[in-house]
């Protein structure tokens, strides 16, 4: 499967995605603006709280082409963060006490400077999260030692596994992905990841493989733990339930399957003001592969940069100026405020 970008698909144009988002209807009327909902909740303009996570997207290149990917990542994407831009991120990090750097992609490990970057973050005494797609570990012998590398630097590994059933996982992430993911999980377990008392955290990300919202994170975690242990002898720490946001390839799936409007209606109907108050963009700064700044990785993929009055690039990082910004919102934000809420750390309410 090719990325939307490589297909020259209409949805590869982010302004077209924003148009589709603005046109969603229920019973012939436009859905309420997300800004309107926030105003009702007393949260408009949406302001940052304390900056707790620097999330860095180190590139769109990936060994997989998942059907729901909000980054439109894949082997045909060549956008990748340079070491010079990583250094700018480190310079900014050193000026702050931000405790966590969350590395995402694409497959972040495919960036040639990935290991150097992790070592530098570690040297600054900050926690690294790697959003590892699991299959990268077994994709090529040069990645087989990633579990040891992660362990050496105390990296918290957060990995997508949308279901304990091979069929449901492969339907979303590609043929054979489940089997390779289980192999990788066993390699991570073998060095202590997910094992009680090891101090090495291995969290799994559940996101629905279809046009529905995630159920209770607690219930899903219990089910995943039982099934993965019983059927595959795999252990992990936490399950993070994440809602699919209606953008990029997931938007394509929704439109193609005729589920777009009903999914948007579900998100709006499930709006939860408690989840809205806890959205991750309030405590996150998202950095693109080219150093541009965003409120979150979803805004990044829609080319919605941080507000104009804030620094636009990591080279001009200014924590105080960023703290004064209003967070940029749009209709896709309903995905983070539905039901129990959704963030890169799972449920929020």
């Amino acid at each position: 499967m090719k990325s939307l970008h490589a297909q020259h698909h209409a949805l590869a144009d982010t302004s077209y995605q924003l148009t589709v988002l603005s046109e969603a209807e229920a019973a012939g009327a436009r859905l309420p603006a997300f800004a309107h909902k926030l105003r009702e909740s007393g949260l408009l303009p949406l302001r940052p709280t304390e900056l707790a996570v620097m999330q860095v997207n180190v590139g769109k290149m990936c060994n997989q082409t998942c059907r729901h990917c909000h980054v439109d990542a894949g082997p045909d994407r060549t956008e990748i963060m340079t070491r010079a831009t990583m250094q700018l991120c480190l310079n900014a990090l050193a000026q702050t006490t931000i405790p966590v750097v969350d590395l995402t992609g694409g497959a972040p490990e495919m960036n040639p400077d990935f290991r150097w970057f992790v070592e530098q973050i570690s040297a600054l005494g900050r926690q690294t999260i790697v959003r590892c797609n699991l299959t990268i570990i077994v994709a090529n012998p040069k990645y087989h030692d990633l579990p040891e590398f992660f362990a050496k630097h105390g990296v918290r590994v957060v990995s997508s596994l949308p279901h304990f059933s091979a069929a449901r996982t492969d339907a979303q992430r590609g043929e054979g992905v489940f089997g390779r993911s289980i192999r990788a999980l066993r390699m991570l377990n073998a060095v202590g990841y997910g094992v009680e008392g090891s101090g090495l955290l291995l969290d799994l990300v559940y996101n629905p493989s279809g046009a529905f919202l995630p159920g209770s994170q607690v219930g899903l975690e219990r089910e995943f733990k039982q099934r993965l242990l019983r059927e595959h002898e795999v252990v992990f720490n936490n399950l993070l339930a994440i809602t699919n946001l209606p953008i990029s390839r997931f938007m394509d799936y929704l439109l193609e399957s005729g589920n777009y409007e009903s999914y948007m209606q579900k998100l709006v109907a499930a709006y939860n003001p408690v989840a809205a108050a806890n959205v991750m963009c309030r405590s996150t700064l998202s950095i693109g592969w080219d150093g541009q700044l965003y409120d979150c990785d979803f805004n990044q993929q829609l080319d919605l940069n941080v507000a104009q009055n804030a620094p636009q690039h990591i080279r001009s990082f200014d924590a105080a100026a960023l703290q004064d910004r209003a967070i940029v919102i749009n209709q896709h934000c309903y995905g983070c405020t539905a039901g129990a809420g959704s963030s890169c750390g799972g449920a929020t309410a």
Binding site: S165, F212, G215, G219
Partner: protein, 112 residues
């Protein structure tokens, strides 16, 4: 214009409107309904699968739509959902078949 059929998928979203003409009974029913489907001695996923099986037994298209979505949402997969339906089928089929004992009894009574 809405389709002239006895079942309209859009009516599922109007379920709550049944309280309009009898608010007190409606409130009590929905409070009870919500309580039943909460995590308890059975998990939410197990309850969704039971509801899915019952939906097939009572042949309620609204319930089949609702509890297919709910089962997926609660983490069930296709195999679990189809097994749940087969439980309903076995009980409905078995309920018919077990009456054949009565048929056999009657036939024996009437026969030489």
């Amino acid at each position: 214009m809405e389709k002239s059929t006895y079942y309209n998928p859009a009516d599922l979203a109007k379920f709550g409107n049944v309280s309009d003409w009898q608010p007190e009974m409606g409130r009590k029913f929905f409070d009870y309904y919500g309580e039943v489907f909460k995590e308890g001695a059975l998990s939410e996923r197990e309850k969704a699968l039971i509801a899915l099986a019952v939906a097939h037994a009572v042949q309620c298209p609204y319930c089949i739509d609702a509890y297919t979505a709910d089962s997926l949402q609660k983490g069930a997969d296709e195999a679990q959902m189809m097994e749940a339906v087969h439980v309903a089928v076995a009980i409905k089929g078995g309920a018919a078949l077990v009456h054949s004992v009565q048929m056999m009894n009657k036939a024996k009574e009437l026969s030489m």
